[in-house]
């Protein structure tokens, strides 16, 4: 049973005004965060991570530990709280804390929310429930195990129900559940018939999103606020050569120029005058070395890399035989891709002086508010106590909001002018400084016996850095980490084969490309799975074996869940006959994301020669991420991932021009539109006894290879360069 300890609270906020609270503890932090670096304080099962409070009116409040960007993780966590406390999700009030209101909490990334937070949140809520049960037992004057659950409280036969409001007083009590015995967790109890978990709870805040009331960072307005923008270089390594600001100063509405080396900011009184002033700035950039598409291609060319022998990193290396009799030997090129989240980043910063101490407040949509806080403090010479970040809902994240970037623009301009400043990045800014998914170059070879049993596997590839990208860590630490971390896990994600083979070598090389890179949905999971699943499909076809059968045959027993997804999706696909006309094809692919998320996808498509288009007609997907806390939101994530896989396979590519990122808006970076979306058939496999794993970037990995495999089926062409265009199909000898 939990102990009740009384503490003097650090902050007299309304949050801890009264009632009963579950304490948050960062005592079990995985790794101490450095100023410039991601926040890694994740909860474990002991730390009682959810911040829950039942106030004296009996109302349950929850501080949301996850940043909201459309994944609705907090709704899922609220379902868990509701399950444990026998209440409805709608009865829980959600609060989004600032960085000053709670201890740091790990960044919202990598589809970790349900995996890492579901149990701590369940423990917190169950501990609260059991503590309240003890209180009820005292009032009823009976042993605690005779007190029964009822909706929003407890009951015993023959006595009136006690609601939570009857058990909580105005006195502040902090319930410390770190050292206690873990109570029965209803969420994870397979015998329990669940009322909240597994239901399709409505995403919190949905009404605000359809009425326009939802507030994003660019919506913040402060009295006296001005509009600022920093002139962005055309590509990462460009340095300022010439700058002429004279015409900007004559624009009506112009306020100030802020300059510090290559940092040039313009501040105006209205958004339109800012646009005009920035347009009037004459700026010339220079590069220490030329940057263009050809240069990037050379830097990551896998065949050039392999000329030097073994690549520096290995994912797996068993009985490798380089001179095996390879049945297939394919080269792949995966393109540079960007997040293109619908909301270009924006931040509002304001410095105020309280008791002679300056404090900066920053409103921003970020996946890592505590990193922004630490980085900002070191950037502008404040102590961390002087920085408060107000995390806002994000208009899409996808890995693109993990750095201190637009916040830096706003903080520096606010510091220089002494006024509240809003910085709204333009779409062009987003493209210029986006942390794009690295291009990669792969060579994959496979051999099998005549029955199709895999014997030799060799996958070698080169990619830019993904996780250890520029400014992920301080400049002095980054090279150390790059050389000591045993490989960039973003680069190696998805490279581990799900299949068994007596000989396996998976190796890679990281390259420091002269363009800005970073994490993108699934990191390199989607590129690596594209390569693996395309090559497996090709080998099956060359051996005249049905590709699904071939894959199932080569999966080890430990991959039963993956095999199950593949079988299910094959069954779903077969529910509709593929037209036998030429130009129609069906393809399959499957994959594992981060060990515990399994997915298979099928694609039906046809080549429309009249419209000169590859038309996706239907996609089926079976996905197993364990317990389905909210099946509808799992489906939503799958839909999103499938749409992204269409973009990856057929449309998206960031073009690099001469010394610049050339793609700059939606006319030259094409993303899927409504008419590109096929019929979607989705099967969410619920495995209620298995701890939930991530779902936010799973189906994407299997989507694009399933498309490539369907094109192979339709045309006989194995296309290995993304994105695949209609013109690739008409060029003879594309294999």
């Amino acid at each position: 049973m939990s102990d009740i300890t009384r503490r003097s609270f650090l902050k007299a906020t309304a949050w801890i005004a009264g009632g009963i609270t579950i304490a948050f503890s960062a005592r079990y932090a995985m790794e101490k965060s450095v100023a410039v670096g991601p926040t890694l304080e994740f909860p474990n099962t002991e730390s009682g991570k959810g911040w829950l409070q039942i106030q004296s009116d009996g109302k349950v409040h929850m501080l949301c530990p996850r940043m909201e960007m459309g994944q609705n993780a907090n709704t899922g966590l609220a379902q868990i709280v509701a399950e444990e406390l026998n209440i409805r999700v709608e009865d829980i009030t959600l609060h989004y804390p600032t960085t000053s209101e709670t201890a740091p909490i790990g960044f919202t990334a990598g589809s970790l929310s349900m995996m890492l937070f579901s149990k701590p949140v369940a423990i917190a809520a169950a501990s609260m429930r059991e503590n309240l049960r003890c209180r009820a037992a005292k009032i009823y004057k009976i042993p605690v195990d005779e007190v029964l659950d009822t909706e929003g409280g407890f009951v015993i036969i023959g006595s009136p129900r006690l609601g939570y409001q009857d058990l909580v007083t105005d006195e502040s009590i902090e319930l410390d559940c770190e050292d206690s015995v873990i109570p029965n967790l209803y969420t994870f109890d397979p015998r329990r018939i669940k009322k909240q978990v597994g239901q399709e709870a409505e995403p919190r805040g949905i009404k605000d999103l359809v009425t326009g009331a939802a507030v994003f960072s660019g919506d913040i307005q402060l009295p006296g606020m001005l509009y600022g923008r920093v002139i962005k270089p055309p590509v990462r390594k460009a340095r300022l050569k010439n700058l002429n600001l004279l015409s900007a100063k004559n624009i009506i509405g112009f306020f100030d120029i802020v300059r510090d080396g290559d940092f040039v900011g313009v501040v105006c009184r209205t958004p339109g005058s800012l646009d005009k002033a920035v347009r009037s700035v004459i700026v010339e950039w220079e590069l220490p070395e030329p940057i263009n598409q050809e240069k990037i291609n050379q830097l990551i060319d896998i065949n050039v890399a392999l000329q030097d022998g073994d690549l520096p990193r290995t994912v797996q290396d068993e009985n490798h035989s380089p001179s095996a009799n390879w049945d297939v030997d394919l080269e792949f090129a995966v393109q540079l891709q960007t997040h293109a989240m619908q909301e270009p980043r924006a931040a509002v910063a304001h410095i105020e002086k309280i008791n002679d101490i300056e404090r900066i407040n920053i409103w921003t949509g970020t996946q890592d508010p505590w990193a922004v806080k630490r980085h900002c403090a070191s950037d502008i010479g404040f102590s961390e106590d002087q920085v408060e970040v107000h995390p806002m809902r994000m208009g899409g994240g996808f890995g693109g909001r993990e750095h201190y970037e637009v916040e830096q623009d706003a903080a520096r301009l606010a510091l220089a002018t002494g006024l509240p400043i809003k910085v709204q990045w333009t779409r062009e800014d987003e493209f210029r400084v986006g942390r794009n998914r690295s291009p990669s170059s792969h060579r994959m070879r496979l051999a099998s016996d005549h029955k199709g049993v895999l014997s030799n596997w060799w996958h070698a590839y080169a990619s830019g850095y993904v996780f250890y990208s520029r400014s992920r860590l301080p400049d002095w630490l980054l090279p150390i980490k790059r050389s000591t971390a045993g490989g960039d896990f973003g680069v190696s994600r998805g490279a581990h084969p799900a299949y068994k083979s007596s000989s396996i070598r998976v190796e890679y090389k990281e390259v420091d490309l002269p363009i800005d890179l970073g994490v993108w949905r699934s990191l390199n999971g989607a590129p690596n799975t594209f390569v693996i699943e395309s090559t497996m499909d090709e080998l099956a076809r060359q051996k005249s074996i049905d590709p699904v059968k071939f894959k199932l045959m080569n999966l080890p027993d430990s991959m039963a869940r993956l095999g199950n997804c593949l079988k299910r999706v094959e069954k779903m696909a077969s529910g509709k006959l593929l037209p036998t006309k030429s130009g129609y094809g069906r393809g399959f692919a499957c994959g594992v994301y981060e060990k515990n998320s399994f997915v298979a996808v099928s694609v039906d498509l046809h080549i429309d020669h009249e419209a000169r288009k590859i038309c996706i007609d239907r996609m089926c997907c079976a996905q197993d991420v364990g317990m389905a806390i909210n099946p509808d939101q799992l489906r939503a994530q799958i839909e999103s991932n499938l749409v992204w896989s269409i973009g990856m396979a057929l449309m998206e590519k960031v073009e690099i021009g001469d010394g610049q990122i050339a793609s700059n808006n939606f006319h030259n970076y094409i993303i899927p539109r409504m008419s590109d979306i096929p019929e979607l058939n989705i099967d969410v496999i619920d495995n209620p006894t298995i701890h939930p794993a991530g779902a936010g970037e799973v189906a994407l990995i299997a989507g694009s290879p399933a498309i490539a495999n369907a094109i192979r089926d339709a045309t006989g062409l194995r296309l290995t360069r993304l994105p695949i265009k209609y013109t690739d199909i008409t060029v003879p000898g594309a294999l």
Binding site: G272, G395, A636
Partner: protein, 177 residues
């Protein structure tokens, strides 16, 4: 949201005031704001934040509002070109204070939004369709909605929500007849 009028007074320059009817109310714009886009005026001058900035070039549709009943991209619409017109934003779509507009309700019923950023624009564009074509085919929906991007990829649900709203609108007009 803090009103901006204080600071706007300071920005007033010589020049005639201009009028717009925004969500049924006559509003006056003066000073340098007459040079602004409709999007900036709605968001920064009037605090109607529901209309979102997405691309600034009329390419993504997140900023869609109606001007005299037609969906337009407010990020490339200059206010001084539309003096005297009627502007409808997402905030003005709901006519009945007790009840959401059928499109908004359908969006909730189908659980459409993920990040939610584009959906003001999506709903306003969809209203541009349904206000003229009460019973659209799937092809008509595709054609009309293709210009509004959703990076989360909620298109399938958007389509279902539009079809659902069409039925709701049909039913409510039947009851009124």
């Amino acid at each position: 949201m803090v009103s901006l009028f204080e600071r706007i007074t300071e920005l007033t320059f010589n020049g005639p005031d201009m009028n717009l009817f925004i969500n049924g109310t006559e509003r006056v714009i003066n000073g340098v704001w007459e040079e602004e886009t409709l999007l900036s005026v709605l968001r920064e001058y009037f605090g109607l934040i529901g209309t979102r900035f997405g691309c600034g070039k009329g390419l993504c549709g997140s900023c869609t509002v109606h001007v005299d009943g037609e969906p337009v991209r407010s990020c490339i619409t200059s206010v001084n070109n539309i003096a005297g017109t009627s502007v409808l934003t997402i905030e003005g779509l709901q006519q009945d204070s007790e009840k959401l507009h059928p499109l908004q309700q359908a969006w909730i019923d189908e659980r459409v939004p993920q990040c939610g950023y584009c959906h003001s624009g999506q709903i306003m564009q969809a209203w541009g369709l349904l206000s003229k074509t009460s019973n659209p085919t799937e092809e008509q929906i595709n054609a009309f909605m293709d210009s509004v991007l959703c990076r989360c990829g909620t298109y399938d649900r958007i389509k279902k929500a539009i079809l659902r709203a069409a039925v709701m609108l049909q039913q409510s007009s039947d009851t009124h007849v």
